[in-house]
Amino acid sequence: MRPKNRKTKKRKNYPAIKQSNDTTTVLFSQPASLYAVENHYCAGCGHGIVHRLVCEAIDEFGIRERVIAVAPVGCAVIAYDYWNFDVTEAAHGRTPAVATGIKRVRPNNIVFTYQGDGDLAAIGTAEIIHAANRGENITIIFVNNGVYGMTGGQMAPTTLAGQRTATTIHGRSLRREGYPIKILEMLAVLPGTKYLERVSVHSAHEVLRAKRAISKAFKMQIDNKGFSMVEVLSMCPTYWDMTPIQAADRIKNEVSTFYPLGVIKSC
């Protein structure tokens, strides 16, 4: 995260799909759930795309006024500067526990968490496993970029073998640091989980698939089906030491071969 010189002038929001007087249909516009502001994310970062996909899905279901989001600790810590609905922060990793408390006392609201891989796959493993195992009727958006971005690119549990980070300067050693964790595959064995899908935002094609998965996850909650989670493989050019294009290619050629894309579980 680069907080310097951040300007977040809030401008007028436009409805998602605007029907004009004549026969023209507007297919692409600013989602009502997303403020039209500059964001603080680095060039080529996937967070901006994922924020937008979440907001588009919320608008399309018409649930903006029912949504309560739980923002993480990490690069997306100030997500409430971009989202035009109720948001709370949560301590690092405790996000699913906070969401549990909200959903249990307000079951008619739509509650989702937005978490990174440090938040969800390291410090918050107990909370995510038990929220999933209880079958909480919440939605988890899990953004996996394989590093701790906000604190300077340290190794995450999801960092690939051999990957260089601030704390694995010669590359992650499986003997020393252990293996990358496949969270969705772990959660799939729990009967409490109802919909788990892994997507990516490294290309336009994959962005569209990610959008469908995120919409499906919210639909599961709206229909009271239970725990839904979408893992989004996302680029971190800054701490992968790559250009945005190289970072997108890395997901296609490397990251997604270890973390396979597609529906892991759906019932």
């Binding site: 907080p3 903006r64 006024e65 029912r66 949504v67 309560i68 739980v70 810590v77 100030i78 409430y80 989202w83 035009n84 609905f85 109720d86 948001v87 709370t88 922060e89 949560a90 301590a91 405790r94 526990a97 906070v98 969401a99 549990t100 408390g101 909200i102 959903k103 249990r104 006392v105 307000r106 609201n109 107990a126 909370e127 496993i129 038990h130 209880r134």
Partner: protein, 343 residues
């Protein structure tokens, strides 16, 4: 009714809508009681996967505008400190109950007052205070738990009930329904979905230059208000006593018996029982200094409240201490012997 059950009933009467707990002795009766009563009354009970999860579930329920509580005993309360600090920072009300046991570490399951510092000096990170209520009977466990919800809502700050294993486990007859109604207040800041209004945000993160300092000043103003309005204490014979005992919680009852023993033998002995440990009843102690030559602080610790008594006395009288640790409970004879030695 046992103390732990009474505490739970106090929460039910106060309109607690959400409880999350995790097993730890000697507070297990409270979790079991809440499991039964919250479900009976159509409210939410969750046995959490950890103390961390429990306090953060309470965070969520409180952010959503509901009255919420969690309870534990000393080692578990240490784990909750992260969540408590966040709740103060986010200005979220809740009630936390600590049925203290011996420490440090895993310690034992016997009564203790070793968590005084943790309770009144902050506990977690950052500059903050909690209203800390110290009941000394089963009835008070019910009454002060009930009161704690009103105070938490009033100040948008967590309130702590500081009991101990002795209070939690002992049984006494109590009056359950006092006829007092909980003081529910509007919570326009709560997360309910932004229908008909702009988005609400709950946060403790303030990154801009000086913004966090302003937020801290606002919190400190609330703490000053609490100090002005919420001090509670009970005093016995402090106007004319040369020796004044200071004790809280279950120990206060033993100390009171020792005071009565001393008075029956002609000694000018009185007592102050702080009910709020924070804000601390400095004024009651200052006033007692008019007559008192000596204070005797009695605790089930190595001397923690002792420091606050010394600050309030401020050199105007001698302050002595008698304490037991690690599950040891002072007897009235032991305290009486100390009084005799001082006189």
């Amino acid at each position: 009714m046992c103390g732990n059950d009474a505490c739970g009933e106090g929460a039910v009467l106060a309109g607690c809508r959400f409880y999350a707990g995790y097993p730890i002795t000697p507070q297990n009766e409270l979790t079991a009681y809440m499991a039964k009563r919250m479900n009976e009354t159509g409210r939410v009970f969750i046995q959490a996967e950890s103390e961390l999860a429990a306090i953060n579930m309470v965070f969520g329920a409180a952010a959503a505008g509901m009255r919420a509580m969690t309870s534990s005993s000393s080692p578990g309360i240490s784990l909750k400190q992260e969540g408590i600090s966040y709740m103060v920072g986010c200005e979220l009300p809740c009630v936390v109950v600590n049925v203290q046991r011996g420490g440090p570490g895993l310690g034992n399951i016997a009564p203790s007052q070793g968590d005084y510092f943790q309770s009144v000096k902050g506990g977690g990170h950052g500059d903050y205070k909690l209203i800390v209520l110290a009941p000394s009977s089963v009835q008070e466990l019910l009454d002060y738990t009930f009161l704690a919800f009103d105070l938490a809502d009033k100040y948008r700050n967590p309130a702590l009930i500081l009991g101990d294993g002795l209070l939690g486990q002992m049984m006494e007859p109590i009056q359950i329904d006092s006829g007092i109604q909980p003081k529910f207040i509007d919570k326009p800041w709560a997360l309910t979905g932004c229908k008909g209004r702009g988005p609400n945000i709950i946060k403790s993160l303030y990154l801009g230059d000086g913004v966090l300092e302003e937020h801290n000043k606002k919190l400190q103003e609330k703490f000053i208000l609490m100090k002005e309005s919420e001090v509670r204490a009970e005093t016995f014979h402090t106007k004319d006593s040369e020796i004044v005992l200071v004790a809280y919680g279950s120990v206060a009852r033993i100390a009171k018996a020792a005071m009565e023993m001393a008075r029956s033998r002609g000694k000018k002995c009185g007592m102050i029982r702080p009910i709020t440990l924070w804000p601390f009843p400095d004024k009651a102690i200052e006033e007692a200094c008019n007559a008192a030559r000596k204070f005797l602080v009695v605790e089930m610790s190595a001397g923690q409240m002792l420091e606050d008594v010394r600050l309030a006395v401020n050199g105007r009288a001698k302050v002595d201490f008698y304490g037991r640790m690690g599950g040891g409970v002072p007897t009235e004879t032991e305290i009486f012997q100390r009084i005799e030695a001082m006189a």
